[in-house]
Symmetry: C2
Subunit: 225 residues, 2 copies
Amino acid sequence: MALRNADRIREELEQAIMAGEFGDGERLDEMTLSTRFSVSRTPVREALHALAASGLVETIPRRGVFVRYPSFIKLIEMFDVMAELEAMCGRLAARRITDEELDRLEAAAIACQKAEEKGDTDEYYRENERFHHVLYHASGNSFLAQEASKLHKRLKPFRRLQLRVRGRLGQSMQEHREVQDAIQRGDAERAARTLRSHIAIQGENLNDLMANFAKYHSRVPRQKT
Amino acid sequence: MALRNADRIREELEQAIMAGEFGDGERLDEMTLSTRFSVSRTPVREALHALAASGLVETIPRRGVFVRYPSFIKLIEMFDVMAELEAMCGRLAARRITDEELDRLEAAAIACQKAEEKGDTDEYYRENERFHHVLYHASGNSFLAQEASKLHKRLKPFRRLQLRVRGRLGQSMQEHREVQDAIQRGDAERAARTLRSHIAIQGENLNDLMANFAKYHSRVPRQKT
DNA sequence: AATATCATTCTTGTATACAGAAATGTTGAC
DNA sequence: GTCAACATTTCTGTATACAAGAATGATATT
């Protein structure tokens, strides 16, 4: 359906930015991108505006659009909100989850465990994502699920930063099992509490993130605004 | 700064849609809007895309953009999420609020009371908004404040629907005082709990909203997609 | 040599032109 | 009279053209 060039370009740029192809503060030139994607400026502009709406870039009128990496503070703020959204999902899911969703949640949790035992990090990330998306939908609140998915996606590159640390993977997996258990038993508050601390950046996690943040944030010298 | 025609048009259209000038499912024709705002299609298209990003309209490729009123279900879902975001703001604010912000919170609460005593509904809405925005910022989490503000704005027309009912104004005000008191005492959990039930649609509020929803949602016959 | 002013160039924002898909209306067959 | 196939029109998506603001560089002045 949405086979417009603008959408295709938006996705490609999104991935490129999240992959770190552009440095913080770097300007995205319309003409350059036009030639890169072999289209005119029009669809490029639409793609850039869409990226601005999702917060990946900032548009300064008559100046251009600039890549904006979130600051360390902003990142923690976003994780805090994410934690609260996930906690809400868990609280609702504990009451509303269907048998089928419960099965899928367990399947994802098991797949996570398998991946961790194999030491396959990429697969772990994939299955981890599946676990959380099942959770979002199990909340029975489609608006919540949508917002949670958006923020989840936005935080994707940084979750890696956090989980890369030795041992974190196993701990994360353990928490999944506890969440699953709480939801299965219908213990809404325990599900919420566990998820909140599963996501929130605090204690050791904070240190881990901080340690990796510097590396991440200094890929390209920040340009003047 | 942002004196682009596109932004101006976006705001005007936003207000027009929220004011109910367009019915649910109505198509927004680029050419028609061009003449209405005396500009070309280009800035109109940008404005429409921005509206789509904020969820007010839906774009169907090669078909056009259509106004989308939230369904009753969606509305309740959004209020539920809003309640959780406000609760989070309250929980954080109880620990982080500054003396100055506390003063402003109290001032807004008093202004609400004054407006209610005068029976000035419009002023009540204005001050109510001020109260909540102070709260958002008092959370000390700028990302949270931003997200809360966005959703607050989106729900604006429906809050009126809910508060229009006799007596609700006074009750709402009472809850403000309780929130303010909890935050002042630093009681995070009470602030969170009070705010959640202040915002959430449940019990009587649900009935009130339901009663007014029908009137709202049937302004113009829904057009075929 | 440093700075201020002005001209030039570059880039964004907007208007217009064009191509192709979807909607609409017409005609003809049953 | 109803429905289907086709022609026509309309509107979206993209390309290009144009206007004006911002950045850059040159020149002149102190």
